[in-house]
Symmetry: C2
Subunit: 215 residues, 2 copies
């Protein structure tokens, strides 16, 4: 049976609290085509492998991440754009992953999502769609929120994560105001204010939030 090659491509997001920046972890390609360029971690799917395993293998071999660094993952879509890979017909099954570690592999790089562009294949499009998926889940899916923001986060962390996802998902994102965010978080039901305050960014210090114990 003559079938297209099937690859799993992963969009690994990470929130860098020190820089208040949402980052995508890219790997430097070791083979042609586009050798030496940064690209999404991806591997060809093996016959006996589950999709989730392939995600782990892609992140491990292409970005130096361990399985336990993957806080959560989810579906993005399937891409079959013709000519997306000059080697021939390929199908890309795409997932997002949310990464919880500070160290990446030697051949990998964490790039602020605002600066990502010009990647090989159709990876720019894939990242935009992945950002949209995560954006939609950020304040609706506790698992995604907890994975991206960590057990404790302040209002500004949440705001910049939301804003940078929106900007990556749509070239023209709405402004999004921080003013109502504390209220929005309160109404979620699964985060609560700790009473502590986060680092000042030049003015009043933002509230710190934690996830409620009951999962």
């Amino acid at each position: 049976m003559n079938q297209p090659l099937v690859s799993i491509d992963v969009v690994p997001f990470r929130y860098n609290r020190a820089a208040d920046a949402l980052e995508v972890i890219l790997g430097r390609r070791q083979f042609e085509p586009s050798i030496g360029s940064l690209a999404l971690p991806g591997v060809l799917l093996l016959a006996q492998e589950r999709l989730g395993e392939a995600v782990g293998r892609a992140l491990n071999t292409k970005a130096g991440l361990a399985p336990r660094d993957i806080a959560t993952a989810g579906e993005v879509g399937v891409f079959d754009t013709p000519g997306r890979d000059p080697r021939g017909p390929t199908l890309s099954i795409t997932r997002f992953a949310i990464i919880d570690t500070d160290t990446v592999g030697a051949t990998a790089e964490a790039v602020p999502i605002a600066e990502v562009s010009g990647l090989p294949f159709d990876h720019d499009v894939i990242i935009a769609m992945a950002a949209r998926r995560v954006y939609e889940k950020l304040f609706t899916d506790r698992e995604v929120a907890e994975a991206l923001l960590g057990p404790e986060f302040d209002t500004v962390h949440a705001f910049t994560a939301q804003q940078q996802l929106a900007a990556a998902a749509e070239p023209v994102g709405e402004p999004l105001s921080l003013a109502n965010l504390a209220r929005t978080l309160t109404n979620l039901g699964w985060v609560e204010a700790t009473g502590e305050l986060g680092a000042s960014r030049g003015g009043r210090r933002p509230k710190v939030w934690r996830f409620t114990p009951s999962a």
Copy 2:
């Protein structure tokens, strides 16, 4: 490279106005496994083929439908449940399709969605997820609505379509009241009342709606 087989499975929906019923078009399997059973139309993907083409081929060879019978289609998901196919590791890329014809192939059957169950592989799960996708789009995506309900439809058509999709998507669907549906349709912005009335179902005749000219 040892890769799993990749199949495209299609969930073809059709709204049967005469019976006020949402139907799924199933094909009778010509090969093992599960030879003779009804199942979703599906084919193994070919290397040089786009996903959309494979959808057309599946519907043509397994359900006797022509490409122009496909009013619209969309993404459902990717399934890799182990053991989903006894022949070995397979990956199922799934789409829904909305069909606009009254005639199906000799080896195919249009089954009311409420009566569908016990299909081979994981097709029951796939249909539930497809129903959820279409349900979400029914009153938000003009293309899906127009494909499913046709150029003109009455309030009861819209209501039963919505209700049967909800029931198929979740074992326990909310009641959903017809009372506000005429209002909801008016507020969509892309349908308008024609002024005509549809067939009576034992009481007052429902309004007939059409899609506004401006696409």
